[in-house]
Symmetry: D2
Subunit: 386 residues, 4 copies
């Protein structure tokens, strides 16, 4: 089988998830190309080599640019903080490498536009680009989209989307690159808000057209972590630094179809660990999802006899559900990282088939524009068109 | 409208619930007769008078026998401990009074048989008898029975019934009449186990034919409560007395149809306050119920496309659900005592229509025989026919 | 015991709920005054008399003004549509009658101000006024307030409040007075949005200071119901009329303390019957509530060891919980109408004690101002101060 | 790092799960030895080679005995039907190979005894044996055991364990080796009942001492599948064969400590896909678990103020939870196969440390004796000592 050589840039949380995906995908799915975990790129030689050994990459490199020249590298998989996405992705695409880029795609609309243009140029030469909104590949959300597409919800009236975490609710929790606007672009908005924007647009097949939002930073100063904890600098204990991103982002939205949306992304929802929740109400039915119970989709069929109608707790572990047939028997749930495996599968199949894998960079740009509109709205205190 | 004069015997927990039922029933339901709360009977004159005032009875009496002679009393409602049920019920029926008798109907099969015979004799004269298995009147369990009767569950394979409480898990919790075999007949078995025996036989329309069980008393000695706490005697603090009933009763069962049952009644399920749970699995579907969420029935329709099948959380608050139309709009749940109101309604309607209200004393006898078979089985350590 | 004579105006849904409250309150709670259900007022003589008979009122009247002159009437209980509240309440207060007024208190801020002023004048003479935000009296929400007041949630960051119903999701569902701006003032906003505004302000003890919202009417024309279905007029089947209120209202909010709120009230959430949901996240903990499981409060204690921390499903049926001790043993849940009974209890006790019962008309005015600010914001498309 | 060569026998469902475990374990956990997926053994050459390619084994073999002579094979991992376990495991142990054997360990007590003796002999030579009750390695059940061991539940009163599936509720579902007593030993009892026996004994650290049970086969004849579907023979469509195992097994149990158990294993619980449920009630608290929500443990702390006590939904995804720290941030749940990875990790660490990995073959024998006692009890219709 033809090999598909992969270079991955970055080796933290997302790097571990993507590595697992490349490793596992060919063991459960029939892939038209064989992914090869060729080279892992990072900034620090020792740490990159150690990560390559642990994560199972054949080589380590501190120069991501050098891999663009290698013939045995066909894919660049970008798992770095958002401020580097545009540079790496555009260079890789221009060098003829397929690109899988973590979300949020970029730190600004301008960057996202440049990336989207690079992806368009590349597509003409058969080079593919995909952005890593992995939640699309959670089977329950795939099923949600199917139900909407089949008309089981009818005309959509309401979208209620929340992404609730609590990892920095403690004001003594230290600064990290995710709280630094230069690195991260934004806070809860771009990190987790981006996911619910993409997921709801994906499920509805309908883009957000205008938004009205607000951003808040509850804890504006935090302890500086020591050198190796992620932030550059030589901070000693006792010093603090400014949080330059939002702790929480809330916005109302209107979709193109007229559906009303209520969105909330926060890192201050005490007790909610990774509660990506989506509820959609239509004229014929409703669905509800919570990632803290990720193998389940709730579905209400409003066309049934009211005496027996009710939200059904569908265990999305049947062979007929998206991706599930490749795994275990019914009732044997999947975990967080399986969506990354599904993403790798779809990416490889799209590359082999010569089609653009969704979500495309154009989809990523769409999300970026929503995020920018939210930020504009938070400043202007009025509705903003996307 | 013709009046239906009621005399109630007993004024503790059940007395309060029955009083509420007689008071409220005619306000929400169209009744063919008008219940009149005529006289409340108890042992202690002062306490009975105080209860009559509080609960809204026109008179108080310390002589239940005397009310049997009154022409303005048509119904005797028995809310006393089990050891007095047979005497009162038989006397009342023989005196031509309709009887509503709290469960467990009796403390022995012999008593229950005598009561059932008295009810048969009375029925020939148009006098009615009913036993108070109120959970039959929880709308969700009424719906459960309807679904079974309509064949929505198919052939029944499994019945899983639990009644879990924790009110005496603390070994310092004092003795009460409910822990005294003379008064109560049995412990968890008769008090709460009786409910799940009746409820499952009601839902299935199928009697239990044999059982294999065990009884246990985890805490065999408990502090004696002071005089006025319920147990007669002159116990001072510091003394203990024996618990003469079971703390928990577990049994396996076979229904006439071949369905397998697993039953458990306990007062030692820490954290479970009134968890009457029933799950039934059939060849076409399943239902599940928990009284701690009493307005909900879970229903799984196994004939659906597996992609969208799942246990539905039916809010049993629709106008089409049993009894519900008389109350509030959809989504406005009922509480514990509503089932007593429904019981009063059905009792009055049966009396007016000249039919036997279910559960009849024959039904109560059926339950009593199951309880006795469980006790025999616990002694003999073998299966017992009912 | 001194009697407290009550005249109630209106006898539909709310009239039935209030009647049940007056009837039941003295049977479970020790009241300092004895409520007497004296007279029921309505517009149509026959229907009012029938309602009085069914609901248990001594007399019926078609002239609410006349009852203000009666010495045996001490309380006027207003259960009519919102457009009549101001007139009746002010007249009653000025006549020296205590007033319990259903929510929303009024159809405009101006009316609410006049009512609040009347209540202030009356209070000087010992005459009391209360507005019927009954959800305050659901034990789980009382417990929520207690937890916040005791600091168990710490600094409040987020309030997430939804009131979701689906009763007019069918576009063929007919017009009713609730869809007529003249009668109802507003739609989902005032009918159910008002409840979550009051409930969250009550739980937090902190008023909303600014809002940004939007209103939508998904189905602008509906069939006219026939004469007796509620709307005056002589509509024949086949005709339609305009919906002049909102079907759904969404708004973001800031509380005085800096907490962020997200509010949504809708009659189009298919499958949600009466889902009043409140989630509050603070620096030390969180609570979550859903009226569809009304006897439960979820509580997360963020100060616990993370290994055993989790949202607790508190069955709010313990004797130590607000109001619960008067009812049944632990685990025996209450229903929708119990909150009305608690409201009656608190009203009677406040009247007897000579204190203002909360929520006062000033509280009602506060809610009205939030609703008005939402409407202004929906028009101006900007944030509005309350 | 020293290599640990592995030969796996069998390549169906369990083979896939074990392969994933060997592949993934060293990528997330620091292992003292490096597992090498050396050789996969099966009966059919072509199918075994295809499985080896798909699952990532270096070689394929149709002769499992031959691998016992290889110096590069240190471990034999047995994933075949139960009738072959004893022969393979004993031979492997005697040949000095460490053994990981799928459950149920054997098809009879005699076989299990022989295996346990072989394991004892092997242990003297530093050769290790482990039986694959993987549910012990689900983090939530590890936490359950920790809570019991720390005394958080106090004295245990009740164990309620169910393993509910529905995969053969359709009477047209064909015969498979799992329904053939020769191959499988028993039906639901050994296949899934064994899991709840082991899991509860593991959590309590307390063995079952006597049982009283019943077995049932609801559908005694089923269609024969065609040749390649698993059953040997030459069945043509239209023929049926006998089901020689139980469809469901129910039993009551007493643990050594006096705790009462209620167990149920069935393949006929319509709508329950893999509902391994365990609820344990003790004098100080309770826990509840359902594998259909596998990342959650419910815990009730009965020592808390009743006003705030309730079952907590602990997301068992914190770094402090068993095994979890090696994976993802809090709230990012694990799936079914992660427990196999944890099992591989513990096995490798035990081998490297020279200690016996639990559950040992002695533990497996203990389970086998419980299963045998249940079968005896079902025949004799009396309680049986284990």
């Amino acid at each position: 089988m033809t090999e598909l050589g992969i270079a991955m840039v970055g080796h933290a949380f997302m790097g571990a998830a993507h590595s697992q995906a490349w490793r596992v995908a060919p063991r459960f799915f029939d892939l038209p190309l064989r992914p090869v975990m060729s080279v892992l790129c990072g900034r620090d030689a020792d740490r990159t080599q150690a990560a390559a050994d642990r994560l199972g990459w054949a080589e380590a490199s501190t120069d991501w640019k050098s891999v663009l020249d290698r013939d045995d590298v066909h894919v660049v998989d970008i798992c770095t903080p958002g401020d580097t996405h545009a540079e790496i992705a555009i260079a890789a695409l221009d060098a003829g490498k397929h690109v899988l880029c973590e979300k949020p795609m970029a730190n600004s609309v301008a960057e996202a536009e440049a990336m989207s243009e690079a992806a368009s140029r590349a597509a003409e030469r058969g080079v593919r680009a995909m952005v890593g909104f992995t939640y699309r590949r959670v089977p329950a959300l795939g099923l949600a989209r199917d139900l909407v597409a089949k008309g089981r919800l009818g005309r959509i009236h309401h979208v209620r989307a929340q992404y609730l975490q609590d990892w920095i609710v403690d004001p003594e929790s230290p600064l990290s690159w995710r709280l630094d606007k230069e690195k991260a672009g934004s806070g809860a908005l771009g990190d987790i808000g981006a996911h619910i924007v993409d997921a709801t647009q994906f499920i509805l097949g309908d883009p957000i057209s205008e938004v009205m939002g607000t951003l808040v930073t509850f804890v504006p100063e935090r302890p500086l972590a020591s050198k190796h904890s992620g932030l550059s600098g030589t901070a000693a204990t006792g010093q603090t630094g400014p949080v330059t991103v939002d702790d929480a982002a809330l916005f109302l939205a209107r979709f193109g179809s007229g559906a009303l949306g209520s969105f909330e992304a926060t890192r201050f929802a005490n007790g909610r660990k990774n509660a990506l929740r989506i509820e959609i109400n239509g004229s014929k039915g409703s669905i509800a999802f919570d990632f803290e119970d990720m193998n389940v989709l709730q579905f209400f069929d409003g066309t049934e006899d009211p005496s027996v109608a009710g939200f059904r707790r569908i265990m999305v572990t049947e062979p007929s559900h998206p991706y599930v047939g490749a795994w275990w028997p019914a009732g044997h749930g999947l975990g967080y990282e399986h969506a990354f495996t599904h993403q790798a599968v779809d990416f490889v199949q799209a590359v082999a088939s010569g089609v653009d894998p969704a979500p495309t960079f154009a989809d990523g740009l769409l999300v970026q524009r929503v995020l920018a509109a939210v930020e504009d709205s938070a400043s202007s205190r009025t509705w903003q068109q996307v």
